[in-house]
Amino acid sequence: MSAFFRSKEIQLAILILSFLAVFIPYFLNIPSDHPLNVFSTKLILIAGITNAFTLALAVYSQFRRGLSFVRRRARGYIFKIYMMTAIILMLIFWTMGETTGPYHWVMYAIITPLSSVNYSILVFYMASTGARAFRARNAKALLLLITGFVVLLYQAPLTGAIFPAINPLGLYFGNTFAMAAGRMFLISVTVGAIVFGVRVLMGKETQVLGFGSEKE
């Protein structure tokens, strides 16, 4: 029986049926109490809950990796001990309640400042890189530099207040060149996702089912 469910064809058939169960109600205006829509909603909910369990998998993987570091006394193993201790403590604190007590305290007193520092420290690296990398080495680089200046000046709120002519120029760059690049990125990602999805449904990308790599 297990061999039957482990076969590639059966898994692919389940995948296609699951896809259709979600795809059809999404694109066709089926009433919410229709059995197909009810089934679709249940299936999505099951997928959501199953997917959320990946958090537990992540904790397990971190421990396995961390313990391997500690056993080998690899570089930075002290930080792995710190990480595993923090995870264990948070799991213990979590059982005492999320909204009060030690879990709440750790969230506000430790995670908040650490996360904020982690993000804000980037400004130094970005400023340094920007200042050292932007060189007018040729005509294209000069154009990039001029555009960068205009956008930077526009982004500084005081500039627009004392020199309003910068606003339409900054908006122009944002609404034309930047938007074009953004659209290109979105379209390429979406087309790629659709192509990948179709290939999975056609059985040409079986790695997602755990069948190893297949080459065409």
């Binding site: 249940k42 958090l55 996360s115 709120p157 005081l158 930047a178």
Partner: protein
């Protein structure tokens, strides 16, 4: 002549710690002694304000903190100003988060809005509900869009959501607006399962996301886009309630100017020293 060459060499090869120090000074200085510099309001922020200004007591808004704590630092001015307007207008709010770190954010925000909550007698359960971490993945977002009560039964504090304002919510079509504050965790899922079906959306995103989010405004999926902390500061300016955004704008402005100065100086050094040094001497 050698003094000039020495200066050019310095401009071309200065120690990066000088930039770190100056950025530190111009960021910390204005935060320690705040002063409000004038700012200009962009059309995008005006459009965003127009959307939230039209909300009324019959509107139910899903407020999504789609961010880690780090991103919250950039978005908090927009969050505070937007929620202040929503409370002032009497719109109902349902708060959800899509990152475990964000579970602490709503309480921080609501504490900072205590004055308006108290003045408007904005009540938990009747006017707002906090659901906690209900969007761990796209499937969870999809489930709430198709059958909200099938997917969510209790609030963040473990109490049943029955008898609250959520009794009026059935699926994606029940929401008047989705107000997403995002670093990009579940924003695409919200578009896929709410925005594309017709639920109006407004978004406040971090600076690096602006270029990829703007197409959704022109396609009509987003009613408006509030850009980063700068947009939040402009919104504070529009509603006349200064907050963390306007305070940070001084550092923001000076930081940008310092960066521009360093780029100019670096280019002077490049043409005066590096490029001169790279030229073949011939012979």
């Amino acid at each position: 002549m050698s003094e000039k060459k020495g200066l050019m060499r310095f401009l071309a090869e200065y120690d990066r710690r000088i930039i770190y120090l100056l950025i530190f000074v111009v960021v910390i200085g204005p935060l320690l002694s705040p002063f409000i510099l004038p700012i200009s309001v962009s059309p995008d922020t005006q459009a965003y304000y127009n959307v939230i200004d039209k909300l009324g007591p019959n509107d139910i808004v899903m407020v999504v903190f789609d961010t880690e704590f780090s991103g919250f630092m950039e978005l908090q001015s927009g969050i505070l100003a937007s929620m202040r307007v929503m409370i002032e207008k009497g719109a109902k709010m349902v708060i959800a988060v899509s990152h475990p770190e964000a579970t602490g954010i709503p309480e921080l925000v609501l504490n900072q809005l205590a004055d308006v909550i108290s003045r408007k007698q904005y009540t938990y359960g009747k006017d707002y509900v906090y659901l906690g971490y209900i969007f761990p993945n796209e499937a969870a977002v999809a489930a709430t869009a198709q059958d909200f009560h099938g997917a969510v039964r209790q609030d963040y504090y473990g109490k049943s959501i029955e008898g609250t304002l959520l009794d009026k919510v059935k699926d994606w079509s029940s929401w008047s607006l989705i107000s997403d504050y995002t670093t990009g965790i579940q924003s695409q899922a919200l578009i896929n399962h709410y925005g594309l079906r017709g639920t109006p959306m407004i978004v406040n995103c971090i600076g690096v996301m602006v270029a990829t989010q703007k197409p959704y405004v022109s396609s009509g999926i987003y009613k408006a886009l509030l850009q980063s902390m700068r947009g939040g500061a402009e919104l504070e300016y529009l509603i006349g309630v200064p907050g963390p955004g306007l305070t940070a704008m001084n550092s923001f402005t000076l930081g940008h100017y310092v960066l521009i100065i360093f780029i100019v100086l670096g280019n002077i050094g490049y043409f005066g020293y590096t490029r001169y040094k790279q030229k073949p001497t011939g012979g």
